[in-house]
């Protein structure tokens, strides 16, 4: 039976993962390149008429709306959509006490929240307690900090708006860029240093290998996030510095991987054969060992490191050490609206969280699928 080429492709190992991964990565790259060119609103436009608007996609609403959220929406609608102080309507709602951090700037009376306590109130401390880092992020922002008022208020908000009236869709697109570009910095560090170090260590062995090994083991004995915190502590928090440090902490993984492969390859004979054919060391390293034997590993590691760096970037932004507001990152969207998930404004955290998971999954799947394909090709 004659099968189409696509069918044959799907039969190979890892092809579904590669396919799914490249679709997601492609979307991400598209969002990074085009920026907000095709969204109705820019990330810094404030639609003050539509604060905390739920997504306009009906099925999504039905699927995701919690009971509390539905009540919330009903009240919103009852209070009129143009109300610029939705909080006033809901001041007595029990669910809303999680929002106290967010609502600080809306002038919500403090005693309202103080009257609520008990077991359910405690986790709020994490988000909005006296330390106040999370509240500070939102409170100090203010309208001016986020941009100017939107002109075209009649357009729909596909994924809803946040508490400042920013369009979620626009925020997600803007956040994509702040995930993707720092990831490239990480890759440049990790691969740019890790690959040569691995090649040298594997090819020359002996003392070179020992030096690289010592370097790797020093890096490996520090928890990655803690090392990044040390650097942040020493320097001003800057997402590109931290991504560079993340790249450095990934060097051991890349170089060990490459060195092990090179060591196995050295026993196979073509390196000896290349020396016999009077090739220079550089040509053996670059052509035989890197280009013809390890470039697949390079691309696999590229996507795995991208996944890793998105994970770390969003985490750092969440910890307020990464991308700082008003710059948008998926991590700091979640950080800035800590407890909204519990109070019915699910969309403010749900969509960024989904975007993070999907982006990481996409790169993971791509890398893993390519890895499976490589293993298949090498007959492992």
């Amino acid at each position: 039976m004659k099968r189409s080429a696509f069918y044959k492709y799907l039969k190979k190992p890892g092809s579904y993962r590669i396919l799914a991964g490249s679709i997601i990565v492609g979307l991400l790259a598209l969002a990074t390149l085009t920026g907000g060119a095709w969204t109705s609103y820019g990330p810094d436009e404030l639609d003050l008429d539509h604060l905390l608007t739920p997504p306009s996609v009906g099925w999504m609403k039905r699927l995701l709306a919690t009971e509390a959220g539905l009540r919330m929406q009903q009240r919103n609608q009852a209070g009129g959509r143009g109300d610029s102080h939705p909080r006033a309507v809901t001041a007595d709602d029990e669910d809303l006490d999680f929002l106290q951090g967010d609502s600080a700037r809306d002038g919500k009376p403090a005693e309202d929240s103080a009257s609520l306590g008990g077991a359910a109130g405690s986790p709020t401390d994490a988000g909005s307690g006296g330390e106040g880092p999370s509240a500070a992020g939102a409170a100090t922002g203010g309208d001016g900090g986020y941009g100017q008022e939107a002109r075209h208020t009649n357009k729909a908000h596909l994924l809803g708006t946040d508490k400042n009236g920013r369009d979620m869709m626009a925020l997600l697109v803007a956040g994509a860029r702040n995930c993707f570009l720092p990831g490239l910095v990480t890759c440049a560090f990790a691969l740019g240093l890790g690959v040569p170090l691995g090649l040298f260590a594997g090819y020359y062995g002996g003392r070179v290998r020992k030096i690289v090994g010592t370097f790797n083991s020093t890096i490996l004995s520090l928890p990655r996030l803690v090392l990044i915190l040390v650097v942040i502590c020493a320097l001003e928090p800057n997402v590109y510095y931290t991504m560079g440090v993340l790249g450095a902490t990934l060097i051991p993984r890349v170089s060990e991987l490459i060195a092990t492969r090179v060591r196995i390859l050295s026993n196979m004979g073509f390196i000896l054969a290349a020396k016999e054919a009077a090739l220079s060391d550089f040509k053996i390293l670059y052509r035989h060992l890197f280009w013809y034997q390890n470039r697949a590993v390079f691309f696999i590691q590229f996507s795995l490191i991208m996944a890793e760096s998105i994970l770390v970037e969003t985490t750092l932004s969440y910890l307020q050490f990464g991308t700082k507001p008003p710059e948008v990152s998926w991590g700091n969207i979640i950080e800035g609206s800590q407890m909204s998930f519990f109070s019915g404004f699910y969309w403010i955290t749900f969509f960024p969280a989904m975007a993070i998971i999907l982006a990481i999954l996409g790169f993971f799947y791509l890398g893993d699928g390519l890895n499976a394909r490589l293993a298949y090709r090498e007959g492992r």
């Binding site: 054969a273 009077a278 035989h288």
Partner: protein, 700 residues
Amino acid sequence: MLEVPLLSIKDLCIWFGGGGNYLKAVNHASLEVGRGEIVGLIGQSGSGKTTLAMGLLGLVKGYPGLWAGTAELDGKNLLPDMSRLITLKGDNVEKRYIPYQRAHRRQLHGVLGREIATIFQEPKASLDPFYTVGEHMLEALERNLDRHGGAATGGGLKAVGIGLLKDVGLVDAENLWGLHPHEISGGMAQRVMISMALCAKPKLLIADEPSTSLDVTTQAKLLQLFLHLRDKHGLSIIIISHDIGVIQEISSRIYVMHRGSVVETGASARVLSSPKHPYTASLLDSFSRFGEKLPMPPANPDAGKGCAYREMCAAYRGMLTQDERTRCEGDKPPGQAESLAAAAGVAPVDWSKCHYADKNKAHGPGTPSTANMDRLSAADGSQENIVEVRALRKRFSQGTRSFLALNDISLSIPKGGTYGLVGESGSGKSTLGLSLMALQDVDGGEIIYKGEDILKQSKARMLVLRREIRMLFQHPEGVLNSGMTIESILAEGLEREGRVETADKRRRVSEALEQVRLDPSHGARYPSNLSSGEKQRATIARALITKPAFLVCDEPVASLDLAIQSQVMSLLKEFQRHLGLSYLFISHNLALVKILAHRIGVMYMGYLVEEARVEHFTVSGVRHPYTRLLLASTPSLDPGIREVLAAYPDVEPVRLEGGCPFRNRCPVYLSKRDSICETAMPPLVEHSAGARVACHFPLG
């Protein structure tokens, strides 16, 4: 066969894959083993001989799509009822394979390791690296306590275990007991495996290529051990090998397999003297007429119409009448299964998959040609040497230990001739090859190539010399970078010639490919798309492209099938004749070296112990005891040669300090016990015309 056979396999099929697209690894094969009989199963790689044995034991890798057939050991069924579990249709094999595997394991419970014992090709890897030899033995003994009545206590078991180890020739068993697998040699590990097998007092021993990874001398002693086991314990043995020499030496009956089917079976003396099947004949040919161009067997004998072997069949080409030929062209000869059915279930004892098997001697192997002798004259006249090695010395050190891998080696390689270098692993022969290529630094000595010392040349001069001196390696798949096309691999050799035009490069690449009988279109392929023979020819082309004068061939055919070895050797011969190449031919196989070489040097533990012209190397002609051991150990069709082996003790080679390194294995020393052997390494001195020997008491 009158008695009931011990093992009887009928119509066994193991097919891989599914959905109508099967790889028929074992295709309707039947096999019988009598009590106390050694049966040989011979075939090249991919013939299904290992799959047959492993399938029987439920150890087959991957997921077979089809199982069929029966197997009985002493009346006990070894295979589960397959009709319920495996069907012919469908392509999702894995799911159904797992219940089959479970049922098979249940069926084999109490058989594996009890009635049937197995030993494998890689003896060292077959032992768990975390446990000592003693722990392995105890494990095997504890499982079979009932067969060693009265030895149930720990100390008693150890005594039994040591007794069993000594039984397989491990004299130093007490010492061995506490060692880990990485501390013992391959030959010792294989003996440990055998004695573990003996713990159960099994009825049948399956030996899957038991000696392939071992040195020839170790192999010869191991084969003697198999005979001893059969005589002492009444053990039946199936020995699986690709090496006719190994099989013929010990087996009483032979099954020849090709591409999953048995093509011939019979008493080994009959099969080896007058084969009835053209494939068997070609196997024998590639053994006895080594180094000549021989017809290749068909890749897929089940395809097409008529007998697929007719192209290589001497009878078809010569003796048969026109009518008889029509039958060969029209019908496939009946397989084992059909013959089985025709003989009412009694497996034919003397049978071949051929229409005219009864026309005995119709296929018989060709007589060894005299072509070997011609080449001797070629290099005779030239007294000129292309390479001279003088007092080459290399010391390797590993931690605190160090040893001389090359100990003042001096030899000269005639121009246009071949110098053969023979020795076991660890003898230093490959180190010498690499030193000659200047790929390995040495501690002293000179290598004179056409009057200049290679070791003292500048880098720039070496780049030129590297074009003239090239090397062939043992593993072609390692040499060819799997990510590059053949063309780009070959073109690398031209890089050092400065700028070469693309068209010129193309032309020279296809020229080189044509020289080694490869189609120029192969240049665009990747190494993984070539067969192992084609790969090795591509590495030869890789060397030839720079138009060399001298080739170092380091075991160039050791990893190839016999028929392909023959092909490669004939190519090498041809290049010597037409291009005037000189070779240093390194091999562990003295018979192989004798085909190509004019002079032969024998190395042992870093010393050159004997060197002479090729005619000198006969059992009666050689003067050094080690050379005679090598000669007698080399698998050959002449069984008489083995009698020499009896004089040699069964000990492992060790690097002895001071004195003659060979003395622990030397029958002369062991009878004389002369102290000079213990104190002084004998110098390499001229013994008779052109023969140099390093021995205090040279033979005969």
